[in-house]
């Protein structure tokens, strides 16, 4: 076991443990903070995979925007930030069944997939992954159509938000 694997295992433990805490803790703010820990663990995974850009974007968007928004929403909507009711409802066995089924399905799928056992590709010293990513996003041979569709979608969301906030006046 080399150094990378130790870090990966620690990081996976962090992600799984804090994700478990998100759903089991009764305090809503604690749940949001544990969610931040989970997302931070995912950012570390990106760093381990040499995807620095994705790691930084993960922190900026998920921790800097979405998690902060969660915390805001929790603080603004609830006076009592503690969940008093029972944490399980009648359908718990269905949830267990579905999650077990999807886990075994994914496990089976990944077991048959050739990419699962692949070792990490060594990035040549001179190449800039960020530049490659940028070129791929605007190149017609790669991802230009999904990229443009996503930007149109975001623009529509932006206009929609402005429209909703204007309608009251």
């Amino acid at each position: 076991m080399d150094f990378m694997q130790i870090i990966f295992l620690l990081c996976a433990a962090l992600i799984l443990g804090s994700a478990l805490m998100v759903v089991t803790t009764r305090n809503m703010i604690h749940a949001a903070l544990w969610l931040i820990a989970t997302l931070f663990g995912v950012a570390i995974l990106y760093v381990l995979l040499n995807a620095g850009f994705l790691a930084v974007v993960q922190v900026v968007i998920y921790i800097g925007a979405i998690a902060i928004l969660f915390i805001f929403a929790v603080m603004l909507t609830r006076r009592e930030m503690r969940d008093q009711g029972p944490q399980l409802n009648k359908g718990w066995w269905m949830a267990v069944l579905i999650s077990l089924l999807s886990f075994s399905g994914l496990f089976w799928l990944f077991n048959n997939w050739s990419g699962f056992g692949r070792t990490m590709v060594e990035i040549p010293a001179g190449s800039d992954t960020l530049k490659e990513l940028g070129l791929a996003l605007v190149s017609p041979n790669a991802f230009v159509i999904p990229f443009e569709v996503a930007s149109v979608l975001l623009l529509a969301a932006l206009i929609g938000a402005v429209y909703v906030s204007f309608r009251g006046k």
Partner: protein, 403 residues
């Protein structure tokens, strides 16, 4: 390789051979060297932080026509150490109903967010923690951790003033992040790289000449991001006592205070790095330690500029603060980004690059001022119409003693 041309590498090569000589494994040597580098960088930053307390107090004293600390040691230089001893022996109070873990974690995260920035700050041509190819985004990402620390402090204190202060700060930081990021994209476009050291290397002409309006936007949004006056609504004494750190005592408060000072200095360093050539200066390429000297002079100067703004401006109202960002700074930053990208692409290979960029900035600035003037004239007209002389007289209450 000699020490004066490449000090960090020289020391690291020497240490590596020393450790290998003791029979250490390769990976252990790597980890050990990395840890040593981090510890040395953090110690330098923290020692600088102690002196910043003295600088801050001396400068504010000068602005307010006082002497500042001058009793302990020559020029009051020992004063910060006395302050630290005072902070350390103060009673450590955790308020009733506070969330103990989050309450104690918040000041640590606040300091961490600032120290993380030092990892990418290029102090000299070869003296830096790490040369990330996403450096510019990394600055914003650490800002997100700073925001998180403030909202944790505000919530965990179990105090409504702390919570309001945290809300204000977060609203401010989240919104001013946008013009700041756009302003940082301008040097990125001009240099063709997001790496902070790469941006410094590309500044044969300082970017302040190519984009003076970008510098202004960056300085304004950096001040807002730091939560310093005129944007210090998070600690508006007259409204919410002390804001998010109201319940903190002793060294925990000291951590917030120290992180604010170091954050300010670090942003002074980033202003210098992104727009004013960073460590560049005569002979800085050959002797990196000279570059460190230039860098600190520039960073200190911009630290002083931020203090200058802080101690001469009144606090602005919260709706004005948000309107200023969303209705003025953000659109201006985006327009400037588009103009910069276009002009840079058109003039990249010609001799008029610098002149053209400067002219484009002047035109953008002039158009902005014209639009503001027309807008202000419209507002004034709207105010003037209902104010007829007769109604004004009816409302006019004579003051006591007025004839």
């Amino acid at each position: 390789m000699n020490f004066w041309n490449d000090p960090i590498n020289f020391v690291s090569v020497w240490l590596r051979s020393l450790f290998s000589g003791w029979g250490m494994a390769d990976w252990l040597v790597n980890v050990l060297l990395a840890v040593m580098g981090i510890v040395v960088l953090i110690i330098c930053a923290m020692v600088l932080d102690i002196m910043l307390v003295w600088v801050e107090r001396k400068v504010v004293a000068r602005f307010q026509d006082r002497f500042g600390p001058n009793r302990v040691g020559p020029f009051g230089l020992i004063q910060p150490f006395a302050d630290i001893i005072k902070l350390l022996i103060k009673e450590d109070i955790t308020p009733v109903g506070a969330d103990r873990i989050i309450f104690n974690l918040a000041p640590i995260l606040a300091m961490t967010a600032v120290l993380l920035l030092w990892a990418i700050l290029p102090l000299g041509s070869v003296i830096y923690g790490v040369d990330l190819n996403v450096g510019v985004l990394y600055i914003i990402a650490t800002g997100a951790i700073g925001t998180l620390s403030i909202i944790m402090a505000g919530w965990a204190s179990n105090n409504k003033f702390a919570l309001i202060g945290a809300f204000r700060t977060v609203a401010q930081m989240v919104s001013y992040e946008i013009p700041m990021l756009v302003a940082m994209l301008i040097p990125t476009i001009l240099a063709g790289t997001m790496s902070v050291n790469g941006i410094v290397h590309a500044q044969n002409v300082w970017f302040v000449i190519l984009s003076p309006i970008g510098v202004l936007i960056f300085i304004i949004s950096a001040i807002a991001e730091l939560g310093r006056s005129p944007f210090d609504l998070n600690e508006a004494e007259s409204e919410i006592v002390a804001g998010f750190h109201i319940e903190y005592t002793g060294m925990k408060f000291g951590m917030f205070y120290a992180s604010e000072l170091l954050h300010t200095f670090t942003f002074g360093g980033f202003i210098a790095t992104l727009f004013f050539g960073g460590w560049r200066g005569p002979y800085a390429e050959i002797y990196p330690l000279l570059g460190v000297f230039y860098f600190f002079i520039k960073a200190m100067f911009f630290y002083w500029v931020i203090m200058w703004v802080k101690y001469s401006m009144p606090r602005i109202r919260i709706d004005h603060m948000l309107a200023f960002n969303w209705k003025f700074l953000t659109p201006l930053a985006f327009v400037l980004l588009i103009v910069t990208a276009l002009v840079d692409k058109v003039l990249a290979q010609t001799n008029f690059h610098a002149t053209g960029m400067l002219l484009a900035n002047i035109i953008v600035g002039w158009v902005t001022i014209e639009i503001l003037r027309i807008h202000a004239r419209g507002l004034r007209k709207k105010d003037e119409i209902p104010a007829k002389p007769s109604t004004q007289a009816a409302h006019h209450q004579p003051l006591r003693g007025e004839k």
